[in-house]
């Protein structure tokens, strides 16, 4: 939409490799399909036509961890699910990011008991926490954009 003309007018665009790569990473970040509880419903809503996450390059949720860059932990993680979560995270190719969506994934939420992991940061390193029970699609999208900002500022040395 007009970018061809712009490029034509400018002729040459100069940038750093870092910026170009980070731009590519943020604009085609594929999240993994990983719904665990009611937050997954909001995640689906964020993906659907009304909120339309594909505006931000998230065209589709990948059903395989090997094709995805972003893990949205949408819901509470039970202690029995935690090893599975970690295995899925380990199967994702680098670079990879994690969003803890909702209170349960962030800190256990209302489930302070023997069955639920008190925050997925016990299991996987989390980049962005999204508060809410469950967070509205706007909140999730805000979290994703916050993550995009973080990724744009990344240096090659800091993340292998």
């Amino acid at each position: 939409m007009g970018i061809e003309q712009k490029l034509g007018n400018m002729g040459v665009v100069t940038t750093t490799l870092e910026q170009a790569v980070n731009w590519a990473r943020t604009n085609a970040m594929w999240p993994m399909l990983f719904g665990l509880a009611c937050c997954a419903i909001e995640m689906m809503a964020a993906q659907a036509s009304h909120y339309d996450m594909s505006r931000f390059g998230m065209e589709l949720m990948r059903a395989s961890p090997r094709q995805s860059d972003l893990m949205i932990v949408a819901g509470r993680v039970t202690r029995k699910m935690a090893p599975v979560l970690r295995r899925l995270y380990d199967q994702m190719p680098e670079p990879k990011w994690v969003i803890a969506m909702g209170d349960c994934a962030s800190c256990g939420g209302v489930f302070n008991n023997y069955a639920i992991v008190q925050g997925v940061d016990e299991v996987v390193p989390v980049d962005v926490y999204v508060a809410g029970c469950p967070p509205r699609p706007e909140a999730l999208i805000h979290g994703i954009i916050t993550l995009h900002e973080k990724v744009r500022g990344e240096k090659f040395i800091s993340k292998a």
């Binding site: 202690r79 029995k80 970690r86 256990g108 302070n112 008991n113 925050g119 940061d121 016990e122 390193p125």
Partner: protein
């Protein structure tokens, strides 16, 4: 209590030493552990209670002694009757004989009672935890088990708890 159920309870009382309580038309039969197998055998073969609906337990600590009741809920399809058998279990030695030889479906139920309440079932073919991870410490549905797994973080104790909280290493 229904007349049919009344007569079943009557026949039980003639054969076994037991107490009976009635609650909303249902009979609760209290029996000691040593009579449990014979009682259930009798109920299944003679009285037509061919189905075991559930095995569960209640922890009455600290109000009651003995502390646990293990509950066997029986159903008779041919007579349309339900009967609850309760066995008091002591905290010092929480052991019961398994009933898997009579009702095979008791296997997983007894594993759950073991997992949640720590009541052992002697002679059970495979008494492992069924819900909690295998290396779990303690039995979560006991009344003296701590209610919360982790202390909540507030602003005033955030740093203190943060030091103890486990985090994933990248």
């Amino acid at each position: 209590m229904e007349a049919k159920l009344q007569s079943v309870v009557q026949r039980l009382q003639e054969r076994f030493p037991l107490q009976v309580e009635e609650f909303r038309g249902e009979a609760h039969v209290f029996v000691q552990a040593e009579h449990l197998l014979h009682l259930l055998e009798f109920l299944k073969t003679q009285e037509g209670f061919e189905m075991l609906s559930t095995v569960t337990a209640v922890d009455y600590w600290p109000q009651q002694q003995p502390r646990f009741h293990v509950i066997y809920q029986l159903l008779s399809l041919q007579h349309n009757l339900r009967l609850q058998v309760r066995v008091p279990v002591n905290a010092t030695e929480p052991v019961l004989p398994t009933i898997t030889s009579i009702y095979a479906n008791a296997s997983w139920r007894e594993r759950e009672v073991w997992d949640m309440f720590g009541i052992r079932f002697q002679g059970h073919p495979d008494l492992r935890r069924i819900l909690m991870p295998q290396d779990w410490q303690g039995h979560p549905l006991r009344k003296d088990y701590p209610l919360g797994y982790e202390e909540p973080q507030f602003t005033f104790n955030f740093e203190e708890i943060n030091q103890r909280k486990p985090y994933a290493k990248e």
